[in-house]
């Protein structure tokens, strides 16, 4: 304990940038395919559910269903792109590709690597989230300036879910275990946290659970902004997301140290 864990933490405030740039260079080589892959899913949901269900549902909370859903899809895509980047891609770099092993032979620490991975996953969230927000704005379901307000929240959502994903890969023996996290944590959050249906529609016990889940805080910040309404409890929501970004970061770094530096 103590000294050893300190040695695994980030060495300084800029070492992580080298890791981010490594991932950016790798991404640039497959950028088009990656962007299409990341956007196809939320776009399908937005238009499929938005137009399909929208006709049946009518208006929700005073907005058209598709406008209501657009904000949910921005938050959801930020969540899923960070989660997938942190799980599958970062796990490959930690495990099969030995990228982390190579980096650990340099003056970077495990904490530097994890921080770089978080920042990179958040970058992917920003790409996916803003793309959906721009589509929504183009179609008139959101105002253009609202995207600027949403941007920091999208980034923070990405950091929080990347951080949680890091804890998952620090514990998972192989890829096969990711499916539990996906089906038991990520997918339920889409339905519990107000991304596709208002939280107020849920039984009260579920509403309590939703209140502590990170995606709820993300949706509660992004939706009013995109619909041009005042945002309530900004400090509370931001604090909650920050906690989800910071605590799992330290936890996962300690767990990675246990896993990789025995």
């Amino acid at each position: 304990m103590g000294e050893g864990y300190m040695a695994a933490m980030p060495a300084n405030v800029y070492n992580w940038i080298a890791v981010w740039r490594r991932n950016f260079l790798a991404w640039k080589k497959v950028a088009l395919a990656s962007v299409l892959g990341n956007l196809a899913d939320p776009m399908t949901n937005l238009f499929g559910l938005g137009f399909g269900l929208g006709i049946i549902v009518g208006r929700v909370d005073g907005a058209s269903y598709i406008a209501f859903l657009a904000a949910g899809m921005v938050a959801t895509s930020a969540m899923t792109s960070a989660t997938f980047e942190a799980m599958y891609a970062a796990f490959a770099r930690m495990d099969a590709k030995r990228t982390w092993e190579a980096i650990l032979c340099t003056q970077l620490t495990l904490g530097d690597i994890v921080l770089g991975e978080l920042a990179w996953a958040a970058t992917k969230s920003i790409l996916a989230g803003t793309a959906i927000a721009m589509v929504a704005a183009t179609l008139g379901y959101a105002t253009w300036p609202s995207i600027l307000y949403a941007l920091p929240v999208i980034a923070l959502t990405g950091l929080a879910f990347a951080s949680l994903g890091m804890v998952v890969i620090s514990l998972a023996p192989s890829y096969d275990y990711f499916v539990f996290y996906q089906t038991l944590v990520i997918t339920p959050m889409v339905f519990l946290c107000g991304a596709v249906v208002p939280v107020t529609q849920l039984p009260s016990a579920f509403q309590v659970v939703a209140g502590v889940l990170p995606l709820s805080h993300s949706v509660d910040l992004i939706r009013p902004a995109m619909l041009g309404r005042p945002v309530d409890n900004i400090a509370l929501h931001l604090t909650a997301l920050c906690i989800y970004a910071v605590l799992p970061f330290f936890l996962s770094t300690a767990l990675f140290r246990r896993r990789l530096m025995r």
């Binding site: 040695a7 490594r22 790798a26 030995r98 650990l104 032979c105 003056q107």
Partner: protein
């Protein structure tokens, strides 16, 4: 700069109940090539990883380039280059991009990396491959790129974990030649290997490991002289047990390993005379080498 590049004192490491490193002490002097020699599972890689601060010892003290490891391993690694046992290059990147990305991990700017890339590529004999994807390189080229990558921060100390395992003879000789150039430039090398020839050719000093324990240490030729000190006749064919009894009185020591009889003979001619009447034997007389030392010390052959 201290004379001692690496100092291990009473280092122990076990995984579960398996002891991997058992009270090991050794010192590597600046500018020398020090070999860790032993079969697979002797603890060589674990020691190399401990020196890098990637494995925590259960007991003992490790100092690398004046820094306490693992607590201050990061500061030591600033001046260390590593050639790992398994290639971990970026396969999708070009040769040049690999060096650029790795240089950034040492806080080098793109310009700083660019200024050293030509000499590194020349050193690794990869001048014509600068813009080739690593996935397209041969095994030997990948190893040489790994070596060039390890030099990007102009390290004082190189840690090489089985640098030639898996290479063909040509590739192996090329790496050996490159390592000799590095030693001539004053670099310190810690080398793990299970190739006796590699250790004999490159190492100023080496230690022979078995089950995490040091069983011998010294200069290769001193070890060979001390432990063997005479020519070796390898005898193939015939009944090893029978022949062994026949020549024992004329040999310093006789060892049966598989189907081969190793006869350590100060007077080889005498042994040849004794064997003259036996048909179907093939004799090979040669100077002693590290393999013989290993056989002597452990009573068994090194894994090939």
């Amino acid at each position: 700069m201290s004379i001692v590049a690496i100092d291990l004192n009473g280092v122990k490491k076990s995984y579960n109940d398996k002891i991997v490193v058992n009270g090991l002490s050794l010192a590597v002097a600046t500018g020398e090539c020090f070999g860790l020699l032993g079969p697979n599972g002797a603890g060589k890689s674990t020691i190399a990883r401990m020196v890098l601060g990637m494995v925590r010892p259960d007991a003992g003290k490790i100092t690398v380039l004046g820094e306490t490891v693992p607590a201050r391993a990061r500061l030591a690694r600033v001046r260390v280059g590593v050639v790992p046992q398994f290639d971990n290059l970026e396969l999708e990147f070009t040769v040049r991009e690999n060096l650029l990305v790795f240089g950034r991990y040492f806080s080098m700017s793109a310009r700083e990396v660019e200024s050293v890339v030509p000499s590194l590529l020349e050193f690794a004999r990869l001048e014509s491959k600068a813009n080739a994807r690593v996935a397209e390189l041969s095994g030997g080229m990948k190893r040489r790129l790994t070596l060039a990558r390890a030099l990007i921060n102009d390290p004082h100390l190189l840690i090489m974990d089985e640098p030639t395992t898996g290479l063909d003879p040509h590739g192996r000789h090329l790496i050996w030649e490159r390592l000799r150039v590095l030693l001539a430039r004053g670099k310190t090398i810690l080398l793990t290997t299970h190739f006796m020839e590699e250790a004999e050719r490159l190492c100023d000093r080496l230690c022979v490991l078995e089950k995490g324990r040091k069983i011998a240490e010294g200069k290769p030729h001193t070890l060979i002289d001390e432990q063997i000190g005479c020519d070796v006749i390898e005898i193939y064919g015939g009944n090893p047990q029978e022949l062994s009894a026949l020549i024992k009185p004329y040999a310093r020591r006789v060892e049966v390993s598989g189907e081969t009889l190793f006869c350590y003979a100060p007077d080889p001619e005498e042994v040849r005379v004794r064997l003259r009447g036996h048909a179907g034997l093939r004799l090979l007389q040669r100077p002693p080498n590290l393999e013989d030392v290993f056989l002597r010390l452990t009573g068994r052959e090194m894994e090939k």
